[in-house]
Symmetry: C2
Subunit: 234 residues, 2 copies
């Protein structure tokens, strides 16, 4: 699995096919500025004159290079979702390698909590939730590519732990959901409602993540005598 250190690179393969460097530059500056504006003010609250000014580009260039407001919005979100998916998939990479379940889950939990609460994930979620009625397919796509993917990765890892008798997991998918929300449910929900500059103490986010893992482990400790009283699915 490729773990490239160069975090700055963007997936420009399809977009920069027309290789005139002026187009590439304009497009990059526009996406950057538009991302900021859309994340901060929403779709309707963003106006293209401001975006163009912030990008250091003529408004006309938006229409030359990208298209209308909807196209710009979709381009911004395509890029943001690629990034989100990339970080989400990294969570899976660190799971299942070690035999120390507790350590592994704690590492993953902290990584996850910091990624979600630290970067642009919260504004991105705000934006998608806000525009879910206007762009339902985008909200749906994000959900599948980011949170759902993380939960599926957790479910896979939990299933492996169960098979190795390291944890007792009846329903891995359900357990994956529960673990995810034990780790960052409260932190994330709170962050969605509070203004971006009122950042909660990161130490508290970490602590919630750790505590969530601990609760999960306590609930899924394998029974010492090997008599797993598993019931049929309810």
């Amino acid at each position: 699995m490729p773990t490239d250190d160069d975090g700055a690179l963007k997936t420009e393969l399809p977009t920069s096919a027309g290789t005139d460097p002026r187009v590439v530059r304009s497009r990059a500056a526009l996406l950057d500025a538009a991302t900021r504006h859309f994340l901060e003010h929403g779709y309707l609250g963003t106006n293209l004159d401001d975006v163009a000014r912030r990008a250091g580009v003529a408004k006309r260039t938006i229409y030359n290079v990208i298209g209308d407001k909807q196209a710009l919005f979709r381009a911004v979100l395509a890029e943001a979702m690629d990034t989100a998916e990339h970080y989400s998939s990294e969570v899976a990479a660190n799971l299942g390698g070690s035999t120390d379940v507790r350590a592994e889950l704690h590492d993953a939990a902290l990584q996850l909590a910091r990624a979600v609460l630290g970067g642009r994930v919260v504004p991105l979620r705000r934006l998608l939730v806000a525009e879910a009625h206007r762009f339902p397919e985008l909200a749906d796509e994000y959900y599948r590519r980011a949170p759902d993917q993380v939960m599926r990765s957790l479910a896979d890892a939990l299933q492996r732990y169960d098979q190795r008798r390291q944890l007792q997991i009846e329903d891995p998918v359900r357990a994956g959901e529960q673990l995810a929300f034990l780790i960052l449910g409260a932190s994330l929900d709170r962050a969605m409602f509070l203004p971006a500059d009122t950042h909660e103490d990161p130490a508290l986010v970490d602590e919630r993540a750790r505590a969530g893992v601990e609760v999960f482990l306590r609930a899924h400790q394998p029974s010492e005598h090997g008599t797993n009283r598993r019931r049929a699915d309810g």
Copy 2:
């Protein structure tokens, strides 16, 4: 604490002080229509001509009776928050009376999950999250009056269980958060991203709530020998 059965009554004490029935009628029709529009289209996406038409009222009446667009928005949210707070406080009412912890928590969990996933809570949360930057004090107020209140009620109940040695709870506040998100974290998060008409199967929501309570109980079962290795508060 007063537990009035008349769920239909609204707090009209300050608003219907000017008792002309025409004003009361207009106000009610306007709030109803405006609630629908704001919940569905957001603040900027709502236009007052439509609201007036839907309310069966002249646009001018909005300005006579309530004020400008911001005032209308605040009035809508004040009412919605009162309702949300009311339902939230009902969760507390059913906690702590019985000695059957499992039954009590299951009841509360189902009640909570159905209230949050069933009614207008999800659209309301969408709206508040979307406008958190424009009306930060409203998002904050909602968070305190609804989700935070529910979590505090759960924390109180859990602390009482702990004192009666029915559960082993080290940090009631943290445990309250965890229980809340075990019950409805996944259902709620999913609902926020999917369009309103794509309702998830209510049976699945119920099942998640039940499973969440079960996991919580397993993690907090009091140790059989009474040797509670409690550590000092962190």
